[in-house]
């Protein structure tokens, strides 16, 4: 469970998150949508402490991760993250990318880590790419490797920051399919996305951010059919 309480984030004089509070229960899939620059990425990155909130608190399973004394790395081990631009390690093969963190962080043996990595790569449909370097892969393949890499740490929560925004249209589906499989396993997922149909289909709840504020939240049917705020109505009129 993730509990965000009154999260505010300043970059210098610029306040990009304003008093955001929400609770994400275990196994829930939450989509974060909103216009560019509204603070979606920043909020997501606060959840694994890639950004530190200026004020407010975040609890994960009742552990206060915004505590100064907390071991950030230990928190992050339990939270996978997938980036818009993949950020695969270019000097490692696909298999090495996925098997690296379990060896270094969880101290698994090479054999154990690689066998788990192969299973995960199998699941995301990349069995035949284990020995390839990332630059030989298409965008969709890269993103599937990135998902496998995050899953290799066996996280309880997965964060996605526009995982399909950098992809050619014909590759979006293969990545969304992998994410749907993940939804079916009961993973807790927080997804920043511009794929409204996907959000409608898989999300249990939608958070709509604008100007750093959590303007509206609700279940997708309600939100997409009957947005309550004018801000959300305007936004949906533009993107749907």
């Amino acid at each position: 469970m993730i509990k965000a309480m009154n999260i505010t984030k300043d970059f210098g004089a610029n306040t990009v998150l304003k008093d955001i509070s929400t609770i994400i229960k275990q196994g829930q899939v939450v989509a974060i949508i909103g216009p560019s620059g509204s603070g979606k990425s920043t909020f997501l990155r606060c959840l694994n402490l890639l950004e530190e909130p200026t004020s407010g608190n975040i609890f994960i399973n009742d552990k206060k991760i915004t505590d100064k004394k907390v071991d950030k790395l230990a928190i992050r081990r339990n939270i996978g993250m997938v980036f818009q631009h993949f950020h695969l390690f270019p000097h490692m093969t696909v298999l090495e990318n996925v098997a690296y963190a379990p060896q270094k962080v969880k101290k698994l043996s090479k054999a154990e880590a690689e066998s788990t990595a192969k299973k995960l790569l199998d699941k995301v449909g990349l069995t035949d790419k284990v020995a390839a370097y990332p630059n030989r892969l298409s965008g969709g393949q890269k993103q599937r490797v990135a998902i496998a890499r995050a899953l290799a740490m066996e996280p309880e929560i997965m964060l996605f920051d526009e995982p399909t925004s950098a992809l050619d249209p014909e590759m979006v589906k293969e990545v969304l399919d992998v994410m749907k499989d993940l939804v079916d396993t009961g993973m807790t997922m927080v997804i920043v996305t511009h794929e409204m149909n996907f959000a409608k289909e898989v999300a249990d709840r939608v958070l709509f951010l604008a100007d750093g504020m959590l303007v509206e939240e609700g279940n997708p049917q309600e939100f997409f059919e009957h947005p309550k705020t004018e801000r959300a109505q305007d936004f949906l009129a533009k993107v749907l």
Partner: protein, 219 residues
């Protein structure tokens, strides 16, 4: 113009020996510069303002003054201050090593900074701690940025090494001068060692290119 290379023939072994003298102290200087340069580069990328400050002041001093002045201070001025002589070989290594460290540290720092920030974030998001992140993820990528510039630095060092002749160290350059004085002809011995410098730099350049090609293979 009457060139006469026959006169330098007896001196050729003497001058050739200079190759090893030059290569020897250049090699040790590169090593000193590399090790100290890596340490300074690490200082520059830490969060500690104090260590950063030390490294920056160091770099500023050694890049901001002539190398020949640094060499003179070590060889002539420090013994005057301390009463202990410093051998030409040790002086040369100190001057070149300390000077090169300043340049090497800048090259390494820039190479590390040039690695995509997303790489650090990906590692952090996986819970990888600082040391393995540096060792396994950042540095292997930084090496590709660093190596070509480092090779240039080694080539510059090899050529600039000729200024140790000013403290009487018997390197290639000094030997050419000695031969010149002996036979009252300067052009031939200078041309001879000039060719040797050129070949050494040529070989270094080729080695550098080969190393770069190998690194590019994963691209």
């Amino acid at each position: 113009m009457n060139l006469d290379f026959s006169q330098i023939v007896p001196y050729i072994p003497f001058m050739i020996e200079g190759i090893w003298v030059t290569l020897g102290f250049v090699f040790v200087s590169i090593l000193v510069g590399l090790i100290l340069g890596i340490i300074l580069a690490l200082f520059k990328i830490t969060k500690s303002k104090f260590l950063k400050g030390i490294a920056n002041v160091y770099t500023s001093i050694f890049r901001g003054t002539p190398l020949i002045l640094q060499l003179m201070i070590i060889y002539f001025a420090i013994p005057q201050l301390t009463g202990y002589d410093i051998e030409p070989f040790v002086s040369a290594i100190l001057a070149f090593g300390l000077n090169s460290a300043a340049y090497v540290s800048e090259i390494i720092r820039a190479g590390i900074m040039a690695v995509d920030r997303g790489q650090i974030e990906a590692a952090e998001a996986l819970g990888v701690s600082y040391r393995p992140m540096m060792q396994n993820i950042i540095l292997p990528q930084a090496v590709k940025n660093i190596l070509p510039a480092l090779m240039n630095e080694f080539i510059t060092l090899t050529k600039e090494s000729a200024i140790v002749s000013t403290i009487g160290y018997l390197d290639l350059m000094r030997r050419a001068q000695i031969v010149g004085a002996d036979i009252y002809r300067n052009f031939e011995p200078l041309l001879f060692v000039g060719a040797i410098y050129w070949v050494m730099v040529f070989i270094l350049t080729k080695l550098g290119q080969a190393a770069e090609r190998r690194l590019r293979q994963s691209d």
